[in-house]
């Protein structure tokens, strides 16, 4: 179980993540939502150790992660928002490198790699350099790399970005299956329809603060709104979207 307690991150005095507390339980998919710049990716980077929090604690199974950082790294799989990969490596080579760095047995690793690539439809391109991959292909490699070592915690930041419909369905199914098998999954995504189908709970962030942390059904009932999109718009969207659309058309006509 992942728990954040009063986690804050400041840059030059400005809190981009402000006193965030929530829990991602095993066996659940927790959605982590918010507009662009609300602090979602920053939170995930703090959880994975890429960034240090200014304040607060991050705990896994009640233990602060900084006590045994090595053990924490072994427990989670992470798909970042930007599909940054080494372009000179092939898909298979990248996965092999990640697997070796995680200490996986070489024989089992090879088997895992080929099967994952096959399942994601990348088997034919496994020996091609990542520089030639489309965005969707890179996303699949990232997902494969995150799942190679059978992690207990899975953190996904915009995992559906660039995926075609088939692949998105597969990923959705994988996310649900991971939760069913007792893993804690933290999913950050703008695809509210998918989040609504996949997640049992959502945490909504607005300007770095948590503005909602409950199950979707409870939020619907509380706010009397039928869909997650409407709930999200109510809580986190300040813009008059229709007004903005009108103004864009005006600028074009200048």
């Amino acid at each position: 179980m992942l728990e954040l307690r009063h986690v804050t991150k400041r840059y030059s005095g400005i809190a981009v993540v402000n006193d965030v507390s929530f829990t991602a339980r095993a066996g659940e998919v927790t959605g982590y939502l918010g507009p662009n710049g609300s602090g979602k990716s920053t939170t995930l980077k703090m959880i994975t150790g890429l960034i240090e929090p200014s304040e607060g604690e991050i705990l896994v199974n009640g233990e602060p992660v900084e006590r045994d950082w090595v053990a924490h790294r072994q427990r989670f799989g992470y798909v970042p928002e930007e599909p940054q990969l080494y372009p000179h490596l092939t898909g298979a080579e990248y996965l092999e490198m990640v697997g070796r760095l995680r200490g996986l047995d070489p024989g089992q690793l090879a088997e895992k790699i080929i099967r994952l690539l096959r399942l994601f439809g990348l088997e034919g391109d496994r020996h091609v350099a990542i520089a030639s991959y489309s965005k969707g292909m890179r996303q699949k490699i990232l997902l494969s790399a995150a799942l190679l070592h059978n992690p207990q915690l899975v953190f996904l930041d915009e995992p559906f970005s660039g995926l075609d419909v088939n692949s998105a369905l597969v990923v959705r199914g994988v996310i649900q299956a991971l939760a069913r098998e007792g893993r804690a999954v933290l999913l950050s995504s703008h695809e509210l329809e998918v989040v609504e189908k996949v997640c049992s709970r959502v945490v909504i962030l607005h300007k770095g603060r948590v503005v909602a942390d409950d199950s979707i059904s409870a939020l619907q009932s509380l706010m009397s709104l039928p869909t997650l999109e409407e709930i999200f718009t109510q809580l986190a969207v300040e813009q008059d979207t229709e007004g903005v659309v009108r103004q864009i058309l005006d600028v074009m006509a200048l």
Binding site: L85, Y86, H88, M97
Partner: protein, 940 residues
């Protein structure tokens, strides 16, 4: 309304900024800084060349056509240098000249005509080329025509010279640039874009190597007789000579040889311009659409046989998972990143240039072109251990290790480094060890294997094994030392701001020169050690100790509890506590990054620690050396019996050997540090005709040491004492070699009544006009003390003595030769006791030998060992000056003559018969009154 001129200006500025492949030379490089740096480097180099050329021309009494013809060496050098500089510029702009996919995608969708893009690119390329030519000839373009003007003379001659210079320079530069462009253009035209993309990097590296190799292998114009018919065919093949011909033709032809060269150059220029222009135009007007359609980087299968083989071998050998991951990551990065490959290629290119420079003697031995200077080339044989090939191996090893180290420091896809952070579940030591393993696998071992194969193929097993052992230990030393401060994963660390832009900085040049010097000296030491067990053992022990120390140092740094794997270049320690930036580090680790934040050890303690460790090491080395010298000396002298008679000259003895009965007495005086016994062969030749004596000066051979100073006067007094004792009865014919000639002159000047005649065998001598001063006594004593110290501690034997003495001198038996060599380096120590300058002055001021016959034998050849024809020519020129200077010795007597001998300084070694003949000539005169007044110079 589209303004084409404005579009042209915008595109021109953008293309100019992107002309040099900045991604290759500096990951975060600022183009403007890079251009300024390159221009400064070229102009600085040209300034040095200008200075050397101007100084070389100063004082010449040639002018007009003669000067123009005599300066072909300089002109060829300037043409060759322009060609290679512009060629390298073309290699650096390889990816910036032809349209790439980015240009096509961005510009193709905009309302810009292909004509505008083409002209803007052409203008940018032309500007770059022009700036490069200007910078590379900034000073020679003005000053060279002034010192070597057109034969017309006057201001008009200078102006015409400047015009000819720049026309030739532009033509040569255009030829080089368009040749590279033509090569690239043909590849773009002929090959599918994907294939071209795949081999483009290899073509770039191959072109770089061909340019560098061609520059160093082309025989210089200073060595080639351009007017000789035998050389014409070769000159017609060499581009730098074509433009030499063009320059000469533009200056007003002074010889028929230049016209065909100039014509060849212009024809070649026309061909490459036509090909490159055609390919260039096609690429822009027809090719852009095709480029867009092609995938950016060829989605090729990376399962080449080499990749599969490498993976299989790595899987077997690299058992630790981190080792495998990091080594394969580094190997693939190096193999597939043009950026890093070119960086490594730059280092290897320099190594290749140095190697070619050393190996030229092997390449040109027997060459028709170098026929006039063949006899002055080094006599090293490639199939025996030699300095040249030793240097080649060490240079390539050093370049591979430090080039790979530089490549490891250069980031590759920084933003993808997050994967290393999130998988960092091992101790930092594991990553440092893996990085070092990468260095062994990718750099050191491949060079080692190639070197082993090469040396095994050409040298005997014994020498091969000895060198390979030392090479392996040296390899360990280099790798451990180079990786000691490397706390990163290869290619996976950023630069601090301002630290990344160092493509080929001055520091690279300084370290390069230092390494070159160390390799040269080290190779000479190794060469002396190969084949001699004791010396080899000492050398091996020293290198092994250094390697083990380097390894220990690496281990200590890698296991340090504060050590962390750097993925970002760390903050300065005095800024970190201010906590301005709290990214990138977790918890307490942020303040404990590597060596910057180690506990501060007081300076005094560090100095003391270094001092006592150095003192202990020094004592151990000197003790070992003293034992080595003592044992070696005893082994040498084992079984050697003294030759001669010890004559008491008052409190000490001098060893003398005389054979023969008939007078006068020929006294054979040895050179500096030499033993009288070396004359035994010549003594044997002369003894049937005349009493012939040799003796050991004080402190040499079997004689007792004498009181200091041991100047020429002191030695002359000892000789006089021997004469007075009757050991060598007067009258004397003195035959003094080298330093012995100085003693002979002083003796003859002080005791002319004893001397009937003299033979000076390449006697030491100083010009009458030269102002020399005796050394201060304290300096003399200091040098002697140092020499004595080096002798007794074995250092002198290690560095200079114990060379393979080779075959016996002419006239000596093997036993006599062995006896001669049994005295080791003691003679060198005794020589340092001589106040050399003071003694030369004594000789200069000595009285003349009026009416007495004197033969001055002068060495006509320099000693062999020139490493290249340039050195050989210089040595020959110096020898000619020496021959001229020795004519001054003819003033010793009105009956003196000079004989120039076809030998180097040791005439006794090469042509002892000339000494015997000279002595006989003097004897004949002394006995029979033969006329030796035919003053002049004869050559034997």
């Amino acid at each position: 309304m589209i303004d084409e001129r404005r579009q042209f200006r915008i595109l021109y500025r953008d293309f100019l900024a992107r002309l040099i492949d900045v991604e290759i030379l500096a990951t975060a490089g600022d183009p403007q800084t890079l251009y300024v740096y390159i221009v400064s480097l070229l102009a600085g180099f040209n300034a040095v060349v200008t200075f050397v050329m101007v100084m070389g021309h100063a004082g010449t009494n040639l002018n007009g056509r003669a000067l123009l013809l005599a300066s072909t060496g300089d002109q060829q050098f300037l043409a060759a240098t322009t060609i290679v500089i512009v060629g390298l510029f073309a290699v650096m702009t390889w990816n910036g000249i032809f349209p790439d996919k980015r240009d096509c995608l961005v510009l193709g969708a905009l309302p810009v005509k292909p004509r505008t893009i083409f002209l803007a690119k052409l203008a940018a390329v032309g500007t770059g080329l022009g700036v490069c030519l200007l910078a590379a000839n900034a000073f020679t373009g003005v000053f060279y025509p002034m010192v070597s003007p057109n034969p017309t003379g006057g201001p008009l001659g200078v102006l015409r010279g400047i015009a000819a210079y720049w026309l030739t320079t532009v033509a040569a530069g255009a030829f080089a640039f368009c040749a590279v462009l033509a090569l690239q253009g043909l590849a773009v035209l002929v090959l599918p874009y994907r294939v071209y993309q795949r081999i483009s990097g290899a073509m770039q590296l191959a072109t770089l190597f061909v340019l560098v190799a061609g520059y160093f292998l082309t025989p210089g114009g200073a060595l080639v007789s351009v007017t000789a018919a035998a050389n014409r065919d070769l000159m017609m093949q060499l581009p730098s000579y074509w433009f030499l011909g063009l320059y000469q033709q533009l200056q007003g032809p002074v010889h028929e040889v230049f016209q065909p060269l100039a014509e060849r150059g212009l024809a070649a220029l026309a061909v490459v311009v036509a090909i490159s222009a055609g390919a260039y135009a096609f690429a822009y007007f027809r090719g852009m659409r095709h480029i867009v359609e092609q995938p950016d980087i060829a989605p090729s299968d990376q399962r080449g046989w080499m990749a599969r083989l490498g993976t299989a071998v790595a899987g077997r050998l690299l058992r630790k998972p981190v080792d495998y991951a990091v080594v394969m990551f580094a190997a693939r990065g190096l193999a597939r990143s043009a950026h890093h490959r070119l960086m490594l290629a730059a280092y290897l290119g320099v190594a290749a240039a140095i190697s070619l420079s050393y190996s030229k003697s092997f390449l040109f031995a027997g060459s028709r072109l170098y026929a006039p200077v063949q006899q002055h080339l080094s006599t090293s044989k490639w199939y025996q251990p030699n300095l040249e090939l030793l240097v080649v191996g060490w240079v390539f090893l050093t370049a591979a290790v430090y080039g790979t180290r530089a490549a490891f420091e250069t980031p590759l896809a920084l933003r993808a480094n997050w994967i290393f952070r999130v998988t960092m579940a091992h101790r930092p030591y594991a990553y440092f060890s893996a990085a070092k393993t990468s260095m062994y696998v990718l750099a050191a071992l491949p060079v080692g294997i190639l070197a082993a194969g090469g040396y095994l193929a050409i040298w005997s097993p014994g020498f091969f094994a000895a060198h390979l052992l030392l090479f392996c230990v040296g390899m360990v030393l280099l790798v451990e030392r180079s990786m000691c401060d490397f706390r990163k994963i290869p290619f996976a660390c950023s630069y601090s701001p301002g630290k990344g832009d160092w493509p080929m900085t001055v520091s690279f040049g300084v370290y390069g020169i230092l390494f070159w010097f160390l390799i040269d000296v080290g190779s000479r030491i190794e060469l002396q050690a190969l084949g001699k067990r004791a010396r080899y053992a000492v050398l091996f022990a020293i290198v092994l100790a250094l390697a083990l120390h380097a390894r220990r140092r690496w281990r200590r740094a890698a296991e340090d509890r504060y050590a962390r794997v750097k993925l970002d270049d760390s903050v300065m320690p005095d800024i970190a506590p201010l906590d301005l930036k709290r990214d990138g580090m977790w918890g307490v680790e942020k303040f404990l990054d590597a060596h910057e934040l180690e506990p501060d050890i007081p300076l005094r303690r560090r100095v003391w620690s270094f001092a006592w460790k150095s003192a202990v090491a020094m004592v151990l080395i000197l003790t070992a050396g003293t034992i080595y010298e003592e044992v070696s000396g005893r082994l040498e002298r084992r079984g050697i019996q003294p030759v001669g008679t010890r004559v008491d000259i008052g409190g000490r003895s001098i060893n003398v050997s005389c054979v023969g009965e008939r007078g006068p007495t020929v006294v054979l005086e040895s050179g500096g540090g030499g033993l009288g016994y070396a004359w035994v062969g010549i003594q044997r030749e002369l003894a049937p005709h005349v009493r012939t004596c040799w003796y050991d000066r004080a402190g040499h051979g079997w004689s007792d040491p004498g009181p200091s100073p041991r100047d020429a006067e002191a030695s002359a007094r000892d000789l006089r004492a021997l004469v007075k004792q009757g050991a060598m009865p007067a009258p004397l014919v003195l035959a003094g070699a080298s330093w012995g000639g100085v003693i002979g002159r002083v003796y003859a000047g002080n005791y002319p009544e004893d001397v009937a005649g003299m033979v000076l065998v390449d006697s030491s001598h100083v010009d009458e006009e030269e102002r020399i001063k005796p050394w201060p006594e304290i300096l003399q004593r200091g040098v002697t003390a140092l020499a004595y110290f080096m002798w007794r501690t074995g250092l002198m034997r290690f560095f200079t003595g114990d060379d393979d003495p080779g075959p016996p001198l002419p006239g000596l038996t093997a036993g006599e030769w062995s006896t001669l060599n049994s005295f080791g380096v003691r003679g060198v120590v005794e020589f340092t006791k001589i106040p050399y300058n003071a003694s030369l002055l004594q000789a200069r001021h000595s009285r003349r030998l009026k009416g007495k016959p004197v033969v001055v034998l002068t060495a006509g050849m320099p000693r062999k060992g020139a490493r290249n024809p340039v050195e050989a020519r210089r040595d020959m020129a110096q020898q000619k000056k020496w021959i001229e200077s020795q004519k001054q010795l003819l003033r010793i007597s009105d009956r003196a003559r000079q004989v120039v001998v076809n030998s180097w300084h040791c005439i006794q070694c090469v042509a002892p018969e000339t000494i015997v003949q000279a002595v006989r000539d003097v004897l004949a005169d002394v006995r029979g009154g033969a006329d030796l007044t035919a003053i002049g110079t004869a050559r034997r």
